[in-house]
Symmetry: C2
Subunit: 409 residues, 2 copies
Amino acid sequence: MTIDPQKLDRLAEVAVRTGVNLQPGQDLVITAPMAALELVQRIAVHAYKAGAGIVTPFFNDDAITLARYENASDESFDKAPAWLFEGMAQAYKNGAARMAITGDDPMLLADQDPEKVARLSKATSIAAKPAMEPIVGFEVNWNIVAYPGAAWASRVFPELPVEEAQGKLMDAIYDASRLDGDDPVANWADHTANLKKRVDWLNEMNFAALHYTGPGTDLNLGLAEGHIWKGGASPALNGVTCQPNIPTEEVFTCPHAYKVEGTVSATKPLAHQGSLIENIKVRFEAGKIVEASATKGEDVLQALLKTDDGASRIGEVALVPHSSPISQSGTLFYNTLFDENASCHIALGQCYADTIKGGSELKPEELQQLGGNQSLIHVDWMMGSDAVDIDGIKKDGTIVPVMRAGEWA
Amino acid sequence: MTIDPQKLDRLAEVAVRTGVNLQPGQDLVITAPMAALELVQRIAVHAYKAGAGIVTPFFNDDAITLARYENASDESFDKAPAWLFEGMAQAYKNGAARMAITGDDPMLLADQDPEKVARLSKATSIAAKPAMEPIVGFEVNWNIVAYPGAAWASRVFPELPVEEAQGKLMDAIYDASRLDGDDPVANWADHTANLKKRVDWLNEMNFAALHYTGPGTDLNLGLAEGHIWKGGASPALNGVTCQPNIPTEEVFTCPHAYKVEGTVSATKPLAHQGSLIENIKVRFEAGKIVEASATKGEDVLQALLKTDDGASRIGEVALVPHSSPISQSGTLFYNTLFDENASCHIALGQCYADTIKGGSELKPEELQQLGGNQSLIHVDWMMGSDAVDIDGIKKDGTIVPVMRAGEWA
Ligand SMILES: [Zn+2]
Ligand SMILES: [Zn+2]
Ligand SMILES: [Zn+2]
Ligand SMILES: [Zn+2]
């Protein structure tokens, strides 16, 4: 069993039609690992069939990345091609949509100096800001999908020969991405309607905070003033309704960056920039992480938290029932797009402006005043399980059960 | 016999050290066909070893290009990602060097509509102007080298299985690029010294025109006022001495765009944008091509000449002895970098500003007044052979033999 070409082609088509919802005449900027070339080629076909103006792909090659870590001068690790990201920002201003392909080797940089990894990541985040803002601010339609690259597949299914692992991971991506059956577009319409029910209820409740309890977790998580819950398809500011994540199981909103108190224990390892961070445990005071530990990769975690002030505060809180199909597959994907959709999670770093009422029109300082966190990073980590309960706390103190044992209450 | 990895690695190293002569801390922008990934990976290693800041590669994938021709709307063929080329221009302004890898399938677009090919090529040339000007004006150090991609190798050696063809083409590139022996850097120093002797003699002669005679050729080719002959390594305006072409056998200068009279017959087929143009024959009046024919690909030729006014005038004249090693290999490479270095040639389109005295400081209009051609295109075509004689004509009418039967006189 290798990668089923029909499954791959359907993934490409759904990513273009339902995911990014590319409009006739619209340009498309794609970033992808080199390993995903085959998927990018199919996306190009479907994008041009959908009337794309120009499809411009950028590839990240693992060997070239390692060539840098293994040979470059120390100064190289503080540099990033700002001119390229400014160019992409210009493309979005001109109306381009964006697609990101994930599927890199999650452990690529495991043997590299975490300090260099963190420095290069920070330099890249700073340079990439102009290209990230239109995405984070939801100015343009965008989408992220996964390709079962060889290195990634071998991490997920280490017991299988690599081609079989890729085939099996393709199947898992296919199922998680709701591509089965006669009409994946209808699958996605149903799924979006279900997510919308949860979103509407949470917005109606208008909780001031969420309270999490579970093994190693006792967290009081304030929500930003004017926060809005979101999930599934929604319209970007350019008017195009897109499905940013394929797969997606979460409903999410903006936490208050200065009103988080207590302890949280991660329930899954976090694959971050080529390293695996295991058994993260942190303590918040006034929204800031003041203690953090991990049984593996703690140096990577500490370097990450030091990126900037907002890196030790949170910018997203998301609810995913433990019974979600990705969670039920029992597979640890070592990939945020999948693992975050198998578990309730929070994200260190940058908030999404559109999860605060009128947020897309606000300046960073104004967002911050409402509790919207600002940072160069946005790193999701998983802290939900079938042993976690969540209560919603209204402004008047009323307590409403939100989740019990990992399921909607 | 497949591609010899040691030969490939030496090519990468010489391209970085001698070709582009990358400086410590300098960034490098690479454009390459996807087929050349392996060479780009090795170039990245040597670039970072040489102290590169950031190596930023851009890949052109044949399948994605064909996806466009086969599926895109008609309007797509007038579009190009200007934002990307403006970004590259910014990189050069910030000090980056440039490397281009050649080795695409020379016949990729042979079955596509020549009108679409020409339109997309023109749109791309217009958009690419900001990124081409620093190269044409020799503002930054740059280099072009070849990778023996499968499709290209199979065109050159159609009788061989593809891997063998690639191995044989690698050997041919290796030999033509003077990489053999213990010290390729010394090879290049010797070669540059030899080219410099010819360059110095031609500059001393300061001919007003060259007169070509041969089968189907009787051409009076005026040279630009203040033209300078160049060849081999020379310093870019940023002070870095580089070897723009590997291989290179030519000495070249700027013809007078308005003072070319007579007929020329090509001596080799011209591989242009995925099509092969055979037996080109043209007639010039006052520098402009007024008649043009080809026995194959004439529609491609005609579309090319119509790109703009300068596309039917010439911007480069180059002398290569028939005994040059590439010519002696007897191989038709279907690739300008090789075929132009096997034969005297002229180039339709844009001149190199630095082949006119002080030209890099002049505006396009000022260059034009001296005879320096301006165009979106620069397409070399081969018109030398062992049956062509060339005379130099001085201002006072003195005639000096330059080449006889294809060799230096
Ligand atoms: Zn999330
Ligand atoms: Zn997130
Ligand atoms: Zn030339
Ligand atoms: Zn040329």
